[in-house]
């Protein structure tokens, strides 16, 4: 049994019917509960619950404070390679796009790492496109060996791997895995992943649990907002996160809900998601799963990011670039456009102003 089986069970679940059958009188009884079941989560996601976002926010803030304190952890992404064998309609690294392709060599990895380290950041997320030829697991391992000198925690956001491959990376010093399903709607998934190994929906949806099985300490999953219908996507995402928490209690499970931003190729969102929708998503997930990590990327603009922080955010990225070698090598081709270009000190000052401590280091290589 894997999460794919759970997905199949809920694939045709009639969410709208539950929304319709719910009495929209008050959300208060749900907010007063210690533990929520699936029906409560669905109600928090419902169109009716949109009228209660402020009460949900008060509750979400209290839960987040008790569980994570007045702290937000900082990290930054580092792109190692943008070679990709996939043609995904929404992605700037789509192999059909005529962009400059590059991959960092060991000296360049060291140079980028030194720079990011000099900013004070200790948690790094490394990314590659999906190309087993250009960025094989052995290449990722070589990079991790270099990065270990500079960072306390190394997470990967690469193509899905086998348990054995994840284990090799854990043994090399990787402690976190980020892998987004993009959309849980398998028919839409088939349509927008036009060509390439990423077409394998099942291999991807079960990747997070393979990572957990291999001993990854933290697992982050997500859906790319703008593809599938958002309420449905968040419903399955919530199920997925809960499934992982239940099956791997020793792992820290986190989510992210990045929203599609302009990129090379000019893909337009299939189903747009508003700011209110994102807020409701974060609130519903926080109240349903109090211990869930929630991270917020620089895809969103500064003002919106700041507003979301007290609603349940536990990690944010800073000083981001989505180009290979974007910090020091002069890589220009971005996977997507970032909206918040503030540097580490500016983010730190913003957090202080809002009453949060920036946590730069929250793990150690042991």
């Amino acid at each position: 049994m894997s999460f794919y089986d759970v997905y199949i069970k809920y694939r045709n679940f009639d969410l709208d019917k539950v929304f319709r059958s719910n009495s929209p009188v008050s959300i208060q009884p749900i907010l007063e509960r210690d533990r929520l079941d699936l029906d409560h989560f669905i109600y928090l996601l419902s169109p009716q619950a949109e009228n209660f976002l402020e009460s949900m926010a008060q509750k979400a803030q209290a839960i987040t404070r008790n569980n994570f304190g007045n702290t937000v952890q900082l990290y930054t992404p580092m792109y190692l390679s943008n070679y990709c064998d996939n043609s995904c309609a929404y992605c700037g690294f789509n192999f059909n796009n005529n962009i400059e392709r590059r991959k960092l060599n060991p000296e360049e990895v060291d140079q980028e790492a030194q720079y990011i380290h000099s900013l004070g950041l200790k948690h790094i997320l490394i990314l590659t496109g999906e190309s087993r030829g250009e960025s094989p697991v052995s290449y990722i391992k070589d990079c991790v060996r270099i990065l270990k000198k500079y960072f306390s925690s190394i997470s990967i956001e690469v193509y899905p791997l086998t348990v054995n491959e994840y284990t090799q990376l854990v043994n090399e010093g990787v402690d976190g895995l980020t892998i987004y399903q993009e959309t849980y709607d398998d028919s839409l998934y088939a349509k927008i992943h036009v060509y390439g190994p990423k077409k394998d929906y099942k291999f991807r949806i079960d990747a997070p649990e393979r990572g957990a099985e291999a001993g990854m300490r933290s697992i982050s999953i997500g859906t790319l907002f703008g593809l599938g219908e958002w309420r449905r996507e968040v419903f399955i995402l919530g199920l997925h996160a809960k499934y992982l928490q239940d099956k791997f209690p020793e792992a820290e499970i986190g989510i992210s809900v990045p929203r599609i931003q302009p990129q090379v190729g000019g893909f337009k969102p299939v189903s747009p998601v508003s700011d209110r929708n994102i807020a409701q998503t974060i609130l519903a997930l926080r109240i349903f799963l109090p211990r869930l990590g929630i991270s917020l990327s620089t895809r969103e603009n500064p003002e919106f990011r700041e507003g979301l922080i007290p609603l349940g955010i536990t990690k944010i990225s800073a000083a981001s670039t989505t180009a290979v070698g974007g910090h020091t090598i002069g890589g220009k081709t971005s996977q997507f456009e970032i909206q918040d270009r503030r540097n580490v000190d500016e983010i730190k000052i913003m957090l202080e102003r809002k009453g949060y401590q920036s946590v730069f280091k929250d793990w150690l290589q042991i």
Binding site: G69, P249, K361, I366
Partner: protein
Amino acid sequence: MEDLLEIAGEEIGNRLFIGTGKFSSYSIMKQSLGAAKAEVATVALRRVDPDSKNENIMDFVPESCRVMINTSGARNADEAIRIARLAKAAGAGNWIKIEVIRDNKYLLPDNLETLKAVETLVREGFVVFPYMSPDLSMGRRMAEAGAAAVMPLGSPIGSNRGVKTRELIEIMINEINLPIIVDAGLGRPSEACECMELGSAAVLVNTAIAVSNDPVKMAKAFSESVYAGRLAYLSGIPAIEKTASASSPLTGFLRDKK
């Protein structure tokens, strides 16, 4: 005579231990430790950053405060042992609070793995404080393995639910010949006071102080409440009677002279 808690040859006057996570800034944390006149602070090694470009937590622990490193993040005995050794190598001393948590939902400790870590680390000369779910047999085993104190939880970390495990903690206080330090779940000063009245040797508080609107004032409130609870315990708290005890409804017929 001054009432001091003696652990591993050290004498501790203030029985409120404070955890250093969750504060909105290190400077607020430092002020809170100061306001409470705390003498013991726990610090997670995962947060310690000696070569930090930013701030290092250790620089904000007042000199009068003894640091007890905790093994937060350890999922088994082996990881806890490695974290303890790294702490010692980094010069953070040999007082170590063992936290082994394999459950990220409730953050409840794994007593068996904790015991294994205690056995090894005691042999290596650490002063070991195991954080545990309250359980008499396990507490006894921790004591036999050489723990300096045991730290049963009042309720899950960060829950502010108070001393939900009171009955089990009372048994441990009565039966285990080591300081019992109630750790986790205390949400208000009166609950810390309650633990001290029961005979706990100390309590450890973090969340309730760190996330209150005024952590500095709250730290002081906890400190005074812990002191009050301790004084009450030492004074001998009169037993609770459910009824008034003036009459003798069952033995009033006995008219013989005593």
